[in-house]
Subunit: 303 residues, 2 copies
Amino acid sequence: MIFSTSQLRPRSRQLLSEFGLIEVSADDKVLATCEFLVAWPSKADKGLLTKMESLVAVQSLRAGVNGIAFEALRPGIRVFSNAGAFSGPVAEGAWGLILGLAKGANVRNRMVIPRLLDGRTLLVLGCGGIGSEIARIGKTAFSMYTIGVSRSFKSPVLFDEKRPMSDLGEVIGRADVIADSLPLTVATSATLRYDVLKMMKQEVILVNVGRAETIDEASIARILSERPETRFGTDVFWREGGRESFDSPLWELPNFAGTFHTGPGVGNEEALGRAELAAVANIRRFILTGDAANEINRNDYLP
Amino acid sequence: MIFSTSQLRPRSRQLLSEFGLIEVSADDKVLATCEFLVAWPSKADKGLLTKMESLVAVQSLRAGVNGIAFEALRPGIRVFSNAGAFSGPVAEGAWGLILGLAKGANVRNRMVIPRLLDGRTLLVLGCGGIGSEIARIGKTAFSMYTIGVSRSFKSPVLFDEKRPMSDLGEVIGRADVIADSLPLTVATSATLRYDVLKMMKQEVILVNVGRAETIDEASIARILSERPETRFGTDVFWREGGRESFDSPLWELPNFAGTFHTGPGVGNEEALGRAELAAVANIRRFILTGDAANEINRNDYLP
């Protein structure tokens, strides 16, 4: 039996119905018998996870699984992210921020001196599905030289240089554009602190489509105030009280651009439906074969 | 002898100095002996053109030559545009507007539902250097299906369909993104009037990096008011009293984005220097060989 915290679209439902599927809500007794959970992870699911005594595996509908209430998840329960499902839309969103900042699109009250991208150096932090797609666009559209800094590389061929995370300080100063698509783990939290950020070129464009907390909020605010030529855009915002808060003082800065975590396709039924289907197909594969893509190591996430 | 209305950069000056070069201002007597004019065309040059009695050829530093005071230009004087010199920067600017509008980058007070570009249909109006470069980015970065509507095609291979201008009404309704890079000529003025614009998809993104007057201003304002899902961005603005005026009521509309004619690289010394060098190399070629690129037919521009 599968429990899904949200109502699934017909095509997704069809893929799971043969195993028994309950959506949105269920009696505690029924929950105790469900072996599989499909969910948009939330720390608020702590109670739910405790009730699911037969739980074998969790399939996230989200690419990032940092929101899972790992503290309530018994050891041995397998966890699958939906990595890759949003790569195309999120990478397009990253380029929306990069080009928006480079060209000053929609800055209503003043002329912004355009930055040229052709042939410049692009540094990608986190080279999974999203980071690789960001690199592909930079290479093909703007002939950019690409440096990837990552634990692993989904498409190594897209990177002119592949570097481990420990090399970040060595390469960050060479980039004209930096795209952060890091997941939020114990290892990536506050990767971009003041002392690292201050090694960036003055005229850099930095965007974040990973998780806000991979950048230290006070540090980026300080950098943007100190360096008017540095431009920063983000689709992801820091959490307050466990929830992402779009109410940020950064909006007041002229060298900042934001979108409202819409990168994965908020409100775009086509993008959301396609991503949901990818998650559902993955857990179906796990149920049928005992194997699936995007299994995560919970030790990366435990506090 | 060559007269340049602006001071040229050292590398440009070097290419022309052997022929005799006077910059910025000159006696009427000297002007009367100059055979070549290098200028950012302006209707205010009418007096200058009248004084240049020996004029053989005009080299524009601008890509578009619609600003030349053709009425003061004696028949037989050859005119060369600087087409292509700004293609890269202007195409990047076009994509800044397209992606800015698609993703809502920098719209500070509200969430914008993102549009996906991958696999969508891109219609390019005017398929010279800029239009071809816009198509190339759409094809390579976002796997877009490209339709070109143009009198001629600089890079035919970049267009899945090549259509004459007379086919515009037939294809405009198929496009998810429309990029206007038309020059302003007798034939292109107000190409996009209300009756043509209303054939566009409701959810289209239209951008203009050609000349503002290829779109009828009242018509686009009406379309944007009537159709909140239609998004329009422009780098070029309509002229008032002969000068481009950025003071437009369109800025008040939520489905509008603008840049301040910065596409060609305003304030970006690298882009401007490179474009100047291209123009200067072209007129040098004409002086040495009697032939050069980008010769325009003044009949396209006469009222």
